[in-house]
C-alpha cells in the first residue's frame, strides 16, 4: 500500500490520467458554462472524477476481492504472517467504502442543486448564471 505515483504500473497510470481528465472536464463545465444545468452537470462530473481517483488508489491490477473466503484460506492456519501474505493480492476495501459514501453525498448535493435550479428558473425566468446577480457586494 505504500506506493508513490511513480511506482505504479501503466494500467494504474491510465486510471489516474482518466480520473484527472474527468475532473478537468467537470471543472470546465462548472466554471465556464453559463447555463445552470450545465454547471450542475459539470459539478457532477467533477464529483465522478474524484470518485474514480479514489477508487484507483485502492486498485491493484489483477487483484482479488478483499474477502477471506474458505476457498482462499483453504487450510492455512490463521497466523499473522499468513494473513499478510494473503492480503497482498487483495484490492484495498477502504477506498471503495469511502467512494460509496461519497457517491451518496454527491447524489444528495446534485439533487439539492437541481431543485435550486428549478426555483431559480421560476424566480428569474432564465438559466443564465450571469443574469442571476441580485445579491452582490
Amino acid at each position: 500500500m505504500n506506493f508513490t505515483l511513480f511506482d505504479l504500473k501503466i494500467v494504474e497510470y491510465s486510471f489516474f490520467i482518466t480520473a484527472i481528465l474527468v475532473i478537468m472536464i467537470g471543472l470546465y463545465g462548472a466554471l465556464v458554462k453559463k447555463s445552470l444545468i450545465k454547471v450542475v452537470i459539470g459539478l457532477s462530473i467533477f464529483d465522478s472524477g474524484i470518485n474514480l481517483l479514489l477508487i484507483s488508489i485502492g486498485y491493484i491490477t489483477s487483484g482479488t476481492a478483499p474477502i477471506f473466503s474458505p476457498a482462499l484460506v483453504k487450510d492455512m492456519p490463521l497466523t499473522l504472517e499468513n494473513i499478510k501474505k494473503l492480503s497482498e493480492g487483495m484490492v484495498d476495501p477502504v477506498p471503495q467504502a469511502l467512494v460509496l459514501t461519497a457517491i451518496v453525498i454527491g447524489f444528495g448535493v446534485t439533487a439539492v442543486a437541481l431543485s435550486l435550479v428549478i426555483r431559480l428558473y421560476r424566480h428569474h425566468q432564465t438559466l443564465n448564471i450571469d443574469e442571476i446577480k441580485n445579491l452582490k457586494w
Partner: protein, 497 residues
C-alpha cells in the same frame, strides 16, 4: 457517567428523523422535541465537560473497532467546549425560533428537521476523530445549510443557496482529494494515527494535503477568497438560521481547519499562513461591511471579519493565542447570534432589510433595540462587555509573540467596525422612524432567547473567570499533540488487551 459523547450525534439525528413521525401524531411535538433533545444534550455536555476538566479526555469507540481502524469520538477539553457552545447556541436559537412558522405546519417541520441536522453535523465535525467521518459530517452540515438558506421562497434565497452550493461542493471535492492523498500515503484515516505517522509522509504530499484541506475546510471557516457566499447566505436565510451559521457552523469549520493545522501535520508556515489569511479576510470583509446598506449583509461581513480575527489569534500559535482565540470564538458566537436574532426583528417587516429601515426602532422595540446595542458593543469589544476580554487577550498574546504590526493593523480595522456598528445604533435610537415600516413586536420566546444571550454577555464581561479556566485547559489540550495521540491510540490498546 450520565452518557457518552456518541449521544451528541445519535440523539439529534434520531430526533431529526422522529420529528415527521411524531408530527403525524401531535403537531406541537415537532416544536417541542428539538428543544427537549437540545436541552438534554446541553445538560449532558455540561456534565461531561465538568468531568473532562477533572479526569481528562474521553475517547469513545464506535462499533468496537479500535482507533486506528474504527471511528472514534474525542471529547477533550477543547472539543468539549466547542460542542457545548454549539449545543448552547442551538438551544437558544431553538427557543428563539419556537414560534417560527407558527401557522404553517409543513414549513415548521422542515425547518426543525434541517435545524437538527445542522446541529448534528456541526457537533459531529467537532467530536469525531476520523477525517472521513468529518467529511461526512461536513457534508451533512452543508446540505442542511443549503436547504436552510433556501428556506424562504419569496426572497432571493435560492440564488444565495446556489452560490453556497457551488462553492461548497467544489471545495468538498478538494477535501476528498486531501483525504485520498493521506490515505494513499499513510493508509489510515484516524486523526491521531495520521498525526503520529505524519513524519512518514513525503513532504511534498504533506504540503499538497494541507493545501487541499485548507481549501476544503476554508469554505466553512469562511476564509477570504472562498467566502463570497457568506453575505448572501446569511442575509437570505431566516434570522435564526443566520444566527446558527454565525454561532454554530462557522465554529465547526474553524475547528476542522485548526485541527488539521495544529494536530495533523506539522508543516512549517501554516501558522503564518493562518495569520495572513485571517488578516486578509478581516480587512477585506470589514471594508465591505462599512459600505453595506442592508443590515444582515453588514452583519454577515462583520461576522467574516470576526472569524478572520479568530484565525489570526489561532495563528499566533502560543497557548495564550489559542486561549484568546477561544475567547473570541465564544464572544463571536454569542454576540453575533444576538445581533442576528435581534436584528431580524428590527427589520422584520421591511422587504429589503435596509439599515435605514431600523430608524427610530428604539422607541417601538425598546428591548430588542437595547439587546442589539448590547450585542454591538460586545462585538466591537467595548469594555466591560465580553468582547473586550477576547480582544485584550488576543492583543497581549500577539504582543508576547512580538507581532506589533499585526496588532496595529487589527486595531485600525477595528475602527471601521466600530463606525458601522455605532452608525446603526445611532439610527435605531436617534432617527425618525420611516413611515412605511410597521415594527413587529418580538414574541416572548424570542425575547427570552435574546435576553439570555445578553445576560451571558454581561456575565462574561464582568466575570471572565467564569470561562477562562476552561479555556486555558482547552488551549493546552489543543497544543498538546502527544497527549491527544496517546489518549486516542491508548484507548484502542486498552480495548484489544
Amino acid at each position: 457517567m450520565v452518557g457518552s459523547p456518541v449521544l451528541f450525534i445519535a440523539v439529534p439525528l434520531l430526533a431529526a428523523f422522529l420529528i415527521p413521525l411524531l408530527g403525524m401524531v401531535w403537531k406541537e411535538s415537532i416544536r417541542i422535541l428539538p428543544g427537549l433533545v437540545l436541552l438534554y444534550m446541553l445538560v449532558l455536555a455540561i456534565t461531561l465537560l465538568e468531568q473532562v476538566m477533572h479526569t481528562g479526555t474521553i475517547v469513545e469507540i464506535l462499533a468496537g473497532w479500535k482507533p486506528p481502524w474504527g471511528i472514534n469520538l474525542v471529547f477533550s477539553p477543547f472539543t468539549g467546549i466547542l460542542a457545548t457552545l454549539m449545543i448552547l447556541m442551538g438551544f437558544i436559537i431553538w427557543i428563539y425560533s419556537y414560534r417560527f412558522k407558527n401557522v404553517d405546519f409543513e414549513e415548521a417541520k422542515k425547518y426543525f428537521i434541517l435545524f437538527m441536522m445542522l446541529v448534528t453535523g456541526s457537533v459531529g465535525i467537532v467530536l469525531t476523530g476520523d477525517i472521513f467521518n468529518q467529511f461526512v459530517f461536513i457534508e451533512i452540515t452543508s446540505i442542511s445549510a443549503y436547504a436552510l438558506t433556501a428556506f424562504y421562497k419569496h426572497r432571493d434565497s435560492a440564488e444565495a443557496s446556489f452560490k453556497y452550493l457551488m462553492v461548497g461542493s467544489l471545495s468538498s471535492m478538494f477535501l476528498l482529494l486531501a483525504i485520498i492523498l493521506i490515505y494513499s500515503q499513510l493508509g489510515t484515516l484516524n486523526m491521531a494515527d495520521i498525526a503520529s505517522k505524519a513524519h512518514l509522509m513525503k513532504p511534498e504530499f504533506k504540503i499538497l494535503a494541507v493545501i487541499f484541506f485548507i481549501v476544503g475546510l476554508g469554505i466553512e471557516a469562511e476564509i477570504f477568497p472562498l467566502n463570497g457566499w457568506v453575505p448572501d447566505a446569511y442575509a437570505q436565510a431566516p434570522g435564526p438560521v443566520g444566527a446558527a451559521f454565525a454561532g454554530i457552523v462557522v465554529k465547526a469549520g474553524v475547528y476542522a481547519l485548526i485541527r488539521i493545522i495544529f494536530t495533523l501535520f506539522d508543516v512549517s508556515g501554516t501558522h503564518q499562513f493562518l495569520i495572513v489569511i485571517g488578516l486578509t479576510t478581516m480587512i477585506i470583509s470589514e471594508m465591505a461591511a462599512i459600505r453595506q446598506d442592508r443590515l444582515k449583509r453588514m452583519l454577515a461581513y462583520s461576522s467574516l471579519g470576526q472569524m478572520g480575527l479568530v484565525l489570526v489569534a489561532f495563528g499566533i500559535g502560543t497557548e495564550e493565542g489559542i486561549f484568546a482565540a477561544m475567547f473570541l470564538l465564544i464572544n463571536h458566537a454569542i454576540g453575533k447570534s444576538l445581533l442576528f436574532l435581534s436584528g431580524s426583528y428590527l427589520v422584520y417587516n421591511s422587504a429589503d432589510k435596509y439599515i435605514s429601515e431600523t430608524n427610530g426602532m428604539g422607541k417601538f422595540l425598546p428591548v430588542t433595540s437595547f439587546l442589539f446595542a448590547l450585542g454591538a458593543l460586545a462585538v466591537v469589544g467595548m469594555p466591560p462587555f465580553s468582547g473586550f476580554w477576547g480582544k485584550f487577550f488576543m492583543m497581549s498574546a500577539a504582543a508576547h509573540a512580538n507581532m506589533l504590526l499585526i496588532i496595529a493593523l487589527i486595531l485600525s480595522v477595528s475602527l471601521i467596525e466600530l463606525v458601522y456598528y455605532f452608525r446603526v445604533i445611532n439610527r435605531i435610537y436617534f432617527y425618525k422612524k420611516e413611515s412605511h415600516i410597521t415594527p413587529k413586536k418580538p414574541t416572548v420566546n424570542a425575547v427570552i432567547a435574546m435576553a439570555t444571550l445578553g445576560v451571558i454577555i454581561l456575565i462574561i464581561g464582568f466575570y471572565p473567570d467564569l470561562i477562562s479556566g476552561y479555556l486555558h485547559q482547552a488551549s493546552q489540550a489543543l497544543l498538546d499533540k502527544g497527549k491527544y495521540i496517546q489518549d486516542v491510540l491508548s484507548t484502542g490498546q486498552l480495548l484489544t488487551h
